[in-house]
C-alpha cells in the first residue's frame, strides 16, 4: 500500500518519532509585579487574552480586531517606537487559522514585546502602516507569502514573487518544489502556452539526474560526444592520465614518471 501523506501539510516530516517521546516546552514565565512588562499589561488592559515572558521577551496574545489599537497603545503609551518584524505562521491544518505576530522594540528600556493574534482563513487584518512605515513592506510580504489580505494597506501587491504568480509559497499546502502552476510558469513565458506539449513541464527538483542526458551530465570512463544518444548502451572509454617524462640531460635518456 502506498504510504499516506497528509495533503494539508506537505512539508518534510521526521521519518521516525519515538512513540513515547513528548516534546518539552520553552518555559513560560509569569510577569513580575512592578516590572516594565507589568506596566505594559496594565496599559493594554482587557485587550490582553494571555501574556507570559518567554526567553526574555513578553508575549501578548490579543484578538485580531484589536491589532491596531494595541500597537497604538504600545507605541504612544509604552514607548515601543519600532516594529522590527511582522509576519504570519500557518496553522490552517490544525485550527484553520493563521497566527500573526508583531515584534516590537522599546529603545529606552531595550526590551521587546511580541504581540500575537490568531486570524481565521479568509479574514483580513487591519494595516498598521499609519503607525509604523516599516509595516508597508512587511505586510506586503505577508500577503505575498500567505495570502492574508490587509485592510487599508496603501499598496498591497506581491513583493517577492512575480505579480502574475498564483499561490502563496509559505503555506504548508505548497510543496517545496512548487506546484503545477510553478512548473509551467517559465515554459509559458519563454516558449508560449501553445508549445507546452513540445517543451514539457520544468524540472524543479534540483537533485534530479537524467541517466541518458549527455548534454548536462557525463560520467567518468563513459565519455561520449555532446548530445549523443546513449539509451541503447554506451561505449567504454579508457581513462587517460597525463604523462610526464623524466629527462636525464647528461645521458640523454627519458623515462616515464611513475612516482605516486
Amino acid at each position: 500500500m502506498r504510504k499516506y501523506t497528509p495533503k494539508d501539510n506537505v512539508q518534510k516530516k521526521s521519518y521516525y518519532t519515538d512513540r513515547f517521546w513528548v516534546a518539552p516546552r520553552v518555559p513560560q514565565m509569569s510577569i513580575e509585579e512592578g516590572s516594565h512588562f507589568a506596566d505594559v499589561i496594565n496599559a493594554l488592559g482587557d485587550r490582553v487574552l494571555d501574556a507570559s515572558v518567554q526567553i526574555g521577551q513578553l508575549v501578548v496574545s490579543i484578538n485580531h480586531q484589536d491589532n491596531y489599537s494595541v500597537l497604538e497603545t504600545l507605541k504612544d503609551v509604552c514607548g515601543y517606537k519600532i516594529c522590527t518584524e511582522l509576519s504570519a505562521v500557518d496553522y490552517l491544518a490544525q485550527e484553520g487559522k493563521f497566527e500573526i505576530f508583531y515584534q516590537m522594540l522599546n529603545l529606552d528600556e531595550a526590551l521587546r514585546v511580541r504581540v500575537v493574534c490568531m486570524i481565521e482563513d479568509g479574514l483580513a487584518i487591519e494595516s498598521t502602516v499609519p503607525l509604523f512605515k516599516s509595516a508597508n513592506f512587511a505586510e506586503r510580504e505577508m500577503y505575498d507569502m500567505f495570502g492574508i489580505y490587509v485592510n487599508n494597506h496603501p499598496f498591497l501587491k506581491r513583493i517577492l514573487m512575480p505579480d502574475d504568480w498564483e499561490g502563496h509559497p509559505l503555506l504548508k499546502t505548497y510543496p517545496l518544489e512548487g506546484d503545477e502552476f510553478a512548473s509551467w510558469y517559465e515554459v509559458d513565458k519563454i516558449f508560449g502556452k501553445e508549445n507546452r506539449d513540445i517543451i514539457g513541464p520544468e524540472n524543479r527538483d534540483p537533485s534530479r539526474v537524467d541517466r541518458y542526458d549527455t548534454k548536462r551530465f557525463s560520467r567518468v570512463g563513459h565519455e561520449v560526444d555532446f548530445g549523443a544518444d546513449i539509451s541503447q548502451g554506451e561505449p567504454e572509454t579508457e581513462i587517460e592520465y597525463s604523462k610526464t617524462l623524466l629527462v636525464d640531460y647528461t645521458t640523454g635518456s627519458e623515462k616515464l614518471d611513475q612516482r605516486r
Binding site: A23, V26, Q54, K81, V89, M161, Y174
Partner: protein, 408 residues
C-alpha cells in the same frame, strides 16, 4: 494607449512628451550600482525624483521555505547566502537563536572565537561598503585600496575555516575548529595594519571636496522617520539614535568588552560614512581585547548537550553511546522544545534576527529571517523623493543593502 507594430515600436516614456508630465524610468534590475538585483521605478520631474518604487524579488530563493524542509543543522550553511558579504554574522544569528531555543550554554573559547569572527566580518563588510560606496560616487582608488585590505581579512577567514565568502564557521553549540597555528599572530599583524589603512581612506575621502559635495545633506532622514521605517544599525545611529544591540542587549562576550558606539546627529550620508569608519576602529579595539582573552580559555569548543549536539569526534570513535547519539542526530536531527524565539543580533548591516517557531520536530515549523536590508530597501520609497537622479546612486550606496538578505 499605444498601438505598437514593427514600424512604430512601444515608447516607454511617451507621456513625457506631453507638457507638464513626468518621465518614468527603470533603474535596474541590472544596474551596477544597485548592489544586486534592485529595480527602482523612478518618476522624474526634470531631474528631481517625484516617486520611487523599489521592486525586489529578483534573487528570491525561498530560504524561509527551505528552512521548513531542513533539519536545524542542515539549514546552517544556507544562512551563508543571506548577507553574503558577512556570512558569519548570519550563521551566528541563526545558531544563537537555536541555542536560546534549546537553552544551551556555549564554552568560553568558542565564544571568544565567535566574537573574533563576528568582528572580523564586520571589518570585511564595512571595507566592502567603503569601497563600493566610494566607487559609486566616483572615487576609484579607494575601491582598490579597500579591496586590498579586505583581501587580508578574507585570508584570515580562509585560514580559519577554508572559505572566503560562505564561511559556515559557526555551529549550533560552538565552533567546529580551534584557531590554527599562527592565526593569532596574523590577526595581531592585521590589527596593527588596518588602523593605518582606515586613516588613509579618511585622508582620501573625509575632507575631499567632491566627496563632501556628493554626500553632505544627501539621503537625510530624521530620527522619528528612521524609527518608523524600522531602520537599524548605522542607519539608525546616523540619525542620532544611540542603539546598538551589542551594547543594549549584550550577547556573546560583548557585555565584557570595552568599546564605544559612535553616533552621528548629521542624519546624512556623510555622517553615516564616518560612523562606518569609526565602527571599524572599534572592531579593531574589540579584536585586540579578544586576543588577550583567548589564551586564558580552556580547550573545549562545543557545548555538552548530548540530546542536541554530537559529542566530539574522539568520543564518537571510542564510546558506543556517543556514536549512537551522533547517529540519531545525523539521521533524524535535533528536536528543540516546543515554543518560539526571536533573537536580535547586530550584524554589520543592522538588526539581524531569526524568529523560529518549533513544534518539537526536527524541522522548524516556521523560520522568519528579519533582515535589516529588507527594511532599508523599503525606506528608499521615502529617501529618494525630492532628490536629484545623480544622488540616487549615493543613497542606495549609503543604505548598504545586500540583496541576498532582501530577497531571501
Amino acid at each position: 494607449m499605444q498601438v505598437t507594430n514593427k514600424l512604430s515600436p512601444f515608447f516607454e516614456n511617451l507621456n513625457f512628451e506631453r507638457e507638464d508630465n513626468t518621465m518614468v524610468i527603470n533603474f535596474g534590475p541590472q544596474h551596477p550600482s544597485a548592489h544586486g538585483q534592485l529595480r527602482l521605478v523612478l518618476e522624474l520631474d526634470g531631474e528631481l525624483v517625484v516617486k520611487a518604487l523599489p521592486d525586489i524579488g529578483y534573487l528570491h530563493r525561498g530560504i524561509e521555505k527551505m528552512a521548513e524542509n531542513m533539519t536545524y543543522n542542515e539549514f546552517l550553511p544556507t544562512t551563508d547566502r543571506l548577507d553574503y558579504i558577512a556570512s558569519t554574522s548570519n550563521n551566528y544569528a541563526y545558531a544563537l537563536s537555536v541555542e536560546k531555543l534549546i537553552g544551551l550554554d556555549v564554552p568560553r573559547r568558542a565564544k571568544v572565537i565567535r566574537t573574533m569572527l563576528l568582528e572580523l566580518n564586520r571589518i570585511i563588510s564595512h571595507l566592502f561598503f567603503v569601497a563600493t560606496h566610494a566607487l559609486d560616487v566616483g572615487a576609484m582608488s579607494v575601491f582598490l585600496y579597500a579591496f586590498r585590505e579586505r583581501e587580508f581579512a578574507m585570508d584570515l577567514m580562509e585560514d580559519y575555516c577554508g572559505a572566503r565568502l560562505t564561511h559556515s564557521a559557526v555551529r549550533i553549540g560552538g565552533v567546529p575548529l580551534d584557531l590554527p597555528h599562527d592565526w593569532i599572530d596574523n590577526l595581531i599583524k592585521f590589527c596593527q595594519k588596518i588602523p593605518k589603512d582606515i586613516k588613509m581612506y579618511e585622508d582620501l575621502l573625509t575632507e575631499n571636496r567632491i566627496w563632501k559635495m556628493r554626500l553632505e545633506d544627501v539621503g537625510t532622514i530624521s530620527a522619528e522617520e528612521a524609527m518608523s521605517w524600522g531602520c537599524s544599525g548605522v542607519m539608525l545611529r546616523g540619525s542620532g539614535v544611540n542603539y546598538d544591540i551589542r551594547k543594549e542587549e549584550p550577547y556573546e562576550l560583548y557585555g565584557e568588552l570595552d568599546f564605544d558606539i559612535p553616533v552621528s546627529n548629521s542624519c546624512d550620508s556623510l555622517g553615516r560614512y564616518r560612523l562606518y569608519m569609526e565602527e571599524m576602529r572599534q572592531s579593531v579595539r574589540i579584536l585586540e581585547q579578544l586576543i588577550l582573552m583567548y589564551p586564558k580559555t580552556e580547550q573545549k569548543l562545543m557545548a555538552h548537550a548530548p540530546q542536541y549536539i554530537s559529542a566530539p569526534k574522539e568520543e564518537i570513535m571510542t564510546q558506543n553511546y556517543a556514536l549512537m547519539q551522533h547517529f540519531v542526530l545525523v539521521t533524524q536531527g535535533m528536536r528543540p522544545p516546543k515554543g518560539e524565539v526571536y533573537i536580535p543580533t547586530e550584524s554589520p548591516k543592522g538588526e539581524l534576527g531569526f524568529y523560529i517557531k518549533s513544534e518539537g520536530e526536527p524541522y522548524a515549523y516556521r523560520l522568519k529571517c528579519r533582515a535589516p536590508s529588507f527594511y532599508h530597501t523599503g525606506l528608499l520609497q521615502k529617501l529618494l523623493i525630492g532628490t536629484y537622479i545623480a544622488d540616487v546612486v549615493t543613497i542606495i550606496g549609503t543604505t548598504n543593502i545586500v540583496f541576498g538578505e532582501v530577497d531571501r
